[in-house]
């Protein structure tokens, strides 16, 4: 996918998929959040152009779309890494040292919360409670849950799993 035309081809397919989803909605009224969920799962994030496209299709202003995108923490306007890392900062994890786990990931990857490594491999986020409090502190990489993380060494080990 190095050439421009292939990229355009891919983008066209993604827009077509989103358009089909919107066209098949039984009711467009109130559908903005479901459409954005779908768009984010197709594109991986919600860049300006996608937001404008959604607004046009639903017949609402881009400003209104942006208002919703920026309101909810689930939506992101930045592309995530190939392996998105989320450190749980729920209360149960916090009292068992989640803040130190987050620090360890920041140090190890050299990025801050909300950023992606320059090679596009990892992105780092904090989230509030995945409901696996028995395993606190908990970290999610993609859908995989890592529990009972209590040292910087463990953090290094986990990251190593993804360094191919």
């Amino acid at each position: 996918m190095s050439c421009e035309s292939c990229k355009n081809e891919l983008a066209r397919e993604m827009y077509a998929e989103l358009e089909k989803f919107i066209d098949e909605l039984p009711e467009k009224r109130g559908a903005l959040i479901s459409v954005l969920h779908r768009a984010q799962s197709i594109f991986g994030y919600l860049p300006k152009e996608v937001q404008a496209f959604v607004g046009e299709k639903l017949n609402i202003s881009t400003a209104q779309v942006y208002g919703v995108v920026s309101f909810y923490s689930f939506f992101t306007m930045e592309p995530k890494g190939k392996y998105p890392i989320s450190v749980c900062l729920g209360t149960a994890c916090y009292v068992r040292g989640a803040d130190k786990v987050l620090e360890a990931f920041k140090n190890e990857l050299g990025i801050d919360v909300g950023q992606t490594t320059s090679d596009g491999k990892f992105s780092l986020d904090a989230l509030r409670c995945v409901g696996a409090c028995g395993l606190a502190p908990v970290v999610l990489i993609g859908d995989k849950v890592y529990g009972r993380i209590n040292s910087a060494e463990q953090v290094k080990e986990i990251i190593k799993e993804y360094q191919d």
């Binding site: 109130g30 479901s34 969920h37 309101f71 923490s73 209360t91 409901g131 409090c133 395993l135």
Partner: protein, 595 residues
């Protein structure tokens, strides 16, 4: 089901799945087949057993053997020893930490003894993806019963039960239904609030994952009572497993004629659809939730009008929380009289708590209202982790407060918790020990509310920010005594003037910790000390006369803050020290102390 003589239940809750419970099920299938017993042994993936600390859990019926921390590699032994030869695998049994005896039957475990399972009645007992199992445990029996009653009779029964909203507010459920019933309209809605946002509470998720049909049934009952034929579940997109199981349940209920057109031939129509949240704590507030379902920013609006009058798309809407709904079928199956006998005078029934933090038995528990904190923490919870001293328990999440030693014998119910400056909230219960710093805990919650404030009203948007700044200042050791006064005053103003529940309760963590642990705040401000030893900025490392001058600390110090000649006592230059603690870890003579 009758042909099976043995049932193996494997926990398929999120916690246990994270510890490879799916592989356990795969291995069970494999090994049971190997010994040719697939016709007599049934393997079930159930919802959460609650004892998350010891997960993954495998339970074998009929002898009720409860295996803890099972690994996929242990399965072969369980099959060959227990299932084939009837010999229990001793090493996988739960060991009572006080007596060191192993306990095989979960009924005899301290963790379960004082619990009473009403909302969680089916979690850990049935396969949540199989409607027949729910029906076998009287599922949809309540709906059948309700459909032969009048709407007013249903509401009266709810009122009589004394059930109050489990999402935090504690508003009487029957009364709420009555408001929605009395507002006439061509279209009404039933909404289930599954936007569980309180960090550290996961009961709604466990109910949806472990017993989704109870929610489907309860919503249909509510729909009948108030005269609504559409139901919506507003659920966090971060709960994929709960969503999947709920979707499966809705489809099965439709197939069985328990949802959809003309339910059970009574002429009552009702159907349910799922709406996704997108991660905003404020959407737990019902008006904000409704706006979010309409595809807008989840900002609250002033009440009145209440949703019962003007809710989803301006129509009468009744919003109840997941745990509240989970109680509803029981009220009708066992009767309001049975239900109202449990609990205290004004808080009936049971409450599910997510017990977490510095406690031995982390997990999901359900107890009758009126139980004391002492019983919850020491009997069910098994006491404080690592033999540390109990300091406080935080209930009600970011809207609640801390209860301390002196509150241990207070019966837990809605009103007592509020009188103690905390609240029931959705049921998070975080236990803290002597190493937890209370101003830092207050800061943790304020960081949360400041970030989650939707920004619509000024007291909350600006006020929580100012509160957080003052707390940060205190924790950095730069606070003044006036700051403590300002904290109290500003907290009161926010409580009195914020638009919705989020803002009105946001200062609670500060007010309650200030009340119970004022000396800890004063120590930070006046003495520049953190008594719990948590706040890095206030710590000081010193070298005592135990130092033999080995120079190890000076060599490890990343900022060259340690100086001294070999074989002489070293000293730390406090202006250079970054308090990383590397020297203390390195010292083999215990000569470095942290104060």
């Amino acid at each position: 089901m009758s042909k099976y003589t043995m049932h193996v239940l494997v926990c398929g809750g999120t916690g246990c799945i994270s510890s490879r419970s799916k592989e356990i099920v795969e291995n069970l299938n494999l090994h049971i087949k190997e010994v040719g017993m697939e016709d007599s042994v049934q393997i079930l993936t159930t919802g959460c057993f609650g004892f998350c600390e010891k997960g993954p859990i495998v339970k074998i019926l009929p002898d009720n053997t409860f295996y803890v921390q099972v690994k996929p590699e242990d399965v072969e032994e369980i099959v060959k020893e227990h299932i084939v030869k009837g010999r229990k695998v001793e090493r996988l049994l739960y060991v009572n930490p006080t007596t060191s005896d192993s306990v095989s039957d979960s009924k005899h475990m301290e963790f379960y003894k004082k619990q009473m399972r009403v909302a969680l009645r089916n979690c850990g007992f049935i396969d949540p993806e199989n409607i027949e199992e729910y029906i076998a445990r009287d599922g949809y029996g309540a709906l059948g019963k309700v459909l032969s009653m009048t709407q007013q009779e249903v509401i009266d029964e709810m009122k009589k039960s004394g059930l109050r909203g489990r999402g935090g507010g504690g508003f009487p459920t029957g009364l709420k239904w009555e408001f929605a019933y009395k507002n006439k309209s061509d279209q009404k809605y039933v909404v289930c609030n599954a936007d569980e946002g309180d960090p550290g509470a996961f009961m709604d998720r466990s109910i949806l994952e472990g017993d989704p049909h109870s929610i489907v049934e309860a919503m249909a009952i509510c729909g009948y009572a108030i005269g609504a034929n559409r139901g919506l579940v507003y659920i966090r997109a971060e709960y994929p497993l709960a969503v999947k199981r709920l979707e499966t349940a809705i489809l099965a209920a439709r197939e069985y004629g328990l949802l959809g057109h003309d339910i059970l031939g009574t002429g009552f129509d009702f159907d349910i659809e799922i709406k996704f949240g997108a991660g905003a704590f404020v959407c737990g507030e019902e008006t904000a939730l409704i706006h979010s379902m309409e595809g807008m920013r989840g900002e609250p609006t002033t009440k009145p009008p209440f949703p019962a009058e003007s809710g989803y798309w301006g129509k009468p809407t009744n919003v109840n929380n997941v745990e509240t709904f989970a109680n509803v079928p029981v009220v009708f199956l066992k009767g309001a009289d049975w239900f109202s006998k449990i609990g205290t005078e004004k808080s009936k029934g049971t409450k599910v708590f997510a017990l977490a933090g510095k406690i031995n038995n982390v997990g999901l528990i359900e107890v009758p209202m009126g139980i004391t904190l002492r019983e919850v923490i020491y009997d069910i919870g098994g006491g404080i982790k690592d033999g540390k001293k109990f300091k406080a328990v935080q209930t009600g999440g970011p809207s609640g407060g801390c209860l301390t030693e002196k509150d241990l014998d207070t019966p837990i119910d809605f009103d007592n918790l509020i009188a103690k400056g905390s609240m029931m909230g959705s049921g998070g219960m975080i236990v803290m020990d002597e190493t937890d710093c209370m101003p830092a805990v207050a800061k943790f919650y304020l960081e949360f509310t400041e970030e989650e404030s939707c920004g619509k009203c000024t007291p909350c948007r600006v006020g929580t920010k100012r509160l957080l700044e003052i707390l940060e200042k205190i924790i950095a050791g730069n606070g003044t005594m006036e700051d403590l006064e300002t904290l109290k005053e500003l907290s009161q103003v926010i409580k009195d003037t914020a638009l919705c529940g989020l803002g009105q309760t946001a200062p609670n963590p500060i007010l309650s910790t200030l009340e119970a642990f004022e000396d800890e705040y004063i120590a930070h401000v006046r003495d520049h000390k953190c008594p719990a030893g948590k706040c890095t900025a206030l710590l000081q490392y010193n070298i005592t006369d135990k130092c033999i001058g080995c120079t190890a600390c000076a060599r490890i110090c990343p900022v060259n803050a340690i100086s001294g000649s070999p074989k002489q006592q070293h000293t730390i230059d406090q202006t250079k020290c970054i308090k990383c603690g590397a020297c203390m870890t390195k010292c083999r003579f215990g000569a470095i102390v942290r104060e």
